[in-house]
Structures are given as structure tokens and as C-alpha cells.
Symmetry: C2
Subunit: 222 residues, 2 copies
DNA sequence: ACAAAAGTGTTGTTACTACACCCATGG
DNA sequence: CCATGGGTGTAGTAACAACACTTTTGT
């Protein structure tokens, strides 16, 4: 009897990068050149090197694609169905990242046909099993938003209560009463006014706030 | 310049198998024979074959260790720090399983020194990074218990309200008021009385219940 | 008759929802 | 002075926590 074949599974990372932009929740997609997925879109990803952790891989990819380096990043789930890549056995440790849209500057490389933000409600056809990854990532994001202070990673340093409310409304796909929202958020003691106002618009200037802590805390928000 | 080394990462699965037994939350551990971890305890695990998914690997291992096959199983997290295995680069897709203690029959193999249930509050020294896996698994279990109907997988088919309350008290490490607990659980409409009573004890016989659905549903329970 | 767990309701308190008007600014 | 979003309080309701005694069985 011949020796059993040695394990030959490739480990990759795919990262769903979210931002809130033009009133919509968007994810970053790259358009692929290589066969058999030519023209299809996919979340940015790559193989894990022998000497790096999957988190390091994700950070590296994030930097390559967006230039950003200090973002919220979290492991999502490992996708491993046998046929998810048509050519080889590749398992993907998927992660998701949150970025304030003001901080991003998309890099175009000739590795891909295109790189673009897509509203998650109108995603194009995706390569591999990325449709499943998308679904899982959106679910996780919604859950995080409800039970943690993670919204800090989607806003810039200084923001108004209305900005914050918009983030919740857009991602959770609801509308909330302004007064109730403010009461709730302020009671949680997650954010503090910085004593400045954002003016320059044709209306009353809004008080600016910042998050007290920029790291994950579990709090029931909505 | 030589070619860069091809990726050589081994993919394994480790499964934390929980049960509630003798009034305590317990996890199944095997005691290792092979160096350099001889004598240390670890969660049961193994390599993923080229032709199986990680879930299939987990199911296979579960069957080998406990003989049980129809249990709750969920992917937990992928652990991938570079030094987690002293000998090779191995990443572990950890999962956790829940078993009703009445259904188990531990199999002993000569592959391990010993196989045993350990109360999670008194775990021995663990091999690899299994201490981290344990922590993550316990956190996840507590969360699942609070937000889902998952308790069905820890009880036998028929159980009393007190049995159910014990599961919550033991795992969440709290005590709850009997009347409030019953009101809450019954209002959620997750369980139904089967019309039988459990007698034979020196006290009033207790009504027996069963879960309506034996699959994951998200409900706020506690 | 006694021990041991099962079973059952009410009341006070708290948290949440619904809701409408005045304010400050730029044009 | 008008349009635009910013900012604020109250009252009714529903959900939750606290709490103690009676019932049924086996010995």
C-alpha cells in the first residue's frame, strides 16, 4: 500500500473591508484578472506566509489596498469547503475590517482590473465563496454594532451625534428617534463632548464628540 | 535568488467538547503520550485530510472519542500563532461541541495515556495554546446560552424545568429565582410539556418538557 | 408526620417608547 | 426672513425584579 498523500492545503486570508460612505454601507472589492475568475469581483486576500500569522497577513493586505494601517480588524470565520477554489484546496481565514471613509485612499495596482467600494446592498457577482463571506461579515457587523462600542472605527475622531445616529441607521437598516437615541448613547458613557462645534453649514452648529475608548467594549446599545 | 519557500502550513482541528455532569460544566481532555507534550492534557484534535472539511474532521474526532454522532457542533475560531506548536507550523481551526452527559461513553485508545472529563474550573496544565482555546470556548458557550436556545444540546430529550434552570445556573455561574425563570422560559415558547411526570423520588413529581426545535434559534433568554 | 423538591401570583420599580416644538446659523 | 438640521422633556406603558407559601410524593 502506498503512503497516504501528505496534507496539502493552502491557507489564505480574505478581508471584508467596510466603510460608511455616501449614506450607504460599502465593502471594498477587487476585480480579478486571473482565470477562471476573470472579471469577477472578490474581497482582497492572499496567502499566509510561513512566518506570519493570519492577522499579520490581513494587516499587510489592508495596507496594500487602502494605505490605512490603524483600523479595527477581527477574525470572522474560516471558510473551508472543498470546492471553494476551483483549482486547489485553499482554506480562507476570513476577517473583517472597519474604516472611517475619510481616511482611505484606494490604491490601484496592475494586479487587478479594478478596485472599488460597493454598496453591500448591490454587490456584483463574486468569485469563490465570497458571497457566503459577505453574508457572514454583514451579520457580524450588525451584531457588533448592537452589543459593542465598535462604531468608533467607522467615524472619524470627531463626530456629531447625528453622524453617529446615521451609522446606526444605515447599518442596522432602521430609523430611530433622535431624542431617544441621544439619551441612550449619552447614558452609556461611551462618548464625551470635546467642547467644539462643527459650523459652516446653513444651520445651527452641532456639538462635536469623541469616543472615550477606542477599543472593543461590550455594551448593549440597541 | 532562490525561489521563495512554498507555503507549508499544516491545518488541524481541535474540539472542545462540553457537557454538564455532577453539577459542573466539564470538558473532555486527552492526556498526551508524544513528546514534547508527554503527560500534558489537550482537547481532542487531528489533522484535516485533503478530502474533508474541518467540520468533517471535527465530527470524525468526536465519534472516535465519545461514540456520539448527533451533537451540536460549531466552529469557534482559528488559532494560528506561529509558535503554538513547538515542532511544526500548525494552525488549528477550533470548534466546540455540546453533549448531553447521559449519551456519552468514553472510548479509551492506546493512542493516549488517558481520556477524562475535567471540570472547566479546575483544568490541568494544557498542551499547545489550548488554554486560550478553552477560554474562548467558555466565553462563546456562555454567550450562546444567553442568546440562543442551545441548551437543548446539553439536556436529554426529556427534562424538567429545574434541570434546565440548573444548566443555566451552572454554566453562567449565577442563581436565578425559580418563578421568574419559569415565567421567562415559558413565555419564549421554546419548550413544551410532554404530559408526563418524572416520579420515583421522595418528593412531588416534576412535569417533563422537551424542546420544540433542536436547531439554533436566536432568542434573548437571560 | 416529616423531609424534599415542585409549583404558583402580586406588587413596586425601572426602563423604554412615543411624541412636538424652539434654536442657531448661512444664504 | 426663510430653510435647514440641532437640540431638548414628559407622560404613559411594558418589562423586570423581588419575594413566601402550598402541594405532592416517598419514607
Amino acid at each position: 500500500m502506498p503512503n497516504p498523500p501528505k496534507q496539502s492545503i493552502i491557507v489564505a486570508v480574505d478581508t471584508v473591508i467596510f466603510t460608511v460612505k455616501d449614506g450607504e454601507l460599502c465593502a471594498l472589492l477587487i476585480q480579478m484578472k486571473k482565470s477562471p475568475y476573470t472579471g469577477l469581483w472578490a474581497f482582497p486576500g492572499g496567502r499566509v506566509e510561513n512566518t506570519e500569522t493570519t492577522e499579520e497577513t490581513a494587516v499587510r493586505i489592508l495596507k496594500e489596498q487602502t494605505g490605512v494601517s490603524n483600523v479595527y480588524l477581527e477574525q470572522l470565520k474560516t471558510f473551508d469547503s472543498i470546492e471553494r477554489d476551483q483549482l486547489e484546496r485553499v482554506i480562507s481565514v476570513a476577517s473583517f475590517a472597519l474604516i472611517s471613509s475619510s481616511e482611505v485612499e484606494l490604491k490601484t495596482t496592475d494586479k487587478y482590473q479594478d478596485v472599488k467600494w460597493w454598496p453591500v446592498k448591490k454587490l456584483p457577482e463574486l468569485a469563490y465563496d465570497h458571497k457566503h463571506i459577505a453574508k457572514e461579515a454583514i451579520t457580524r457587523l450588525k451584531s457588533r454594532l448592537q452589543y459593542t462600542n465598535i462604531a468608533w472605527s467607522l467615524l472619524s475622531e470627531e463626530f456629531t451625534l447625528t453622524d453617529l445616529q446615521r451609522v446606526y441607521e444605515i447599518i442596522l437598516d432602521t430609523t430611530v428617534d433622535k431624542r431617544n437615541f441621544r439619551k441612550r448613547i449619552l447614558a452609556l458613557d461611551l462618548i464625551v463632548p470635546i467642547g467644539k462645534k462643527r459650523g459652516g453649514e446653513a444651520n445651527r452648529p452641532a456639538e462635536l464628540y469623541k469616543f472615550k475608548h477606542k477599543k472593543l467594549e461590550y455594551v448593549e446599545i440597541m
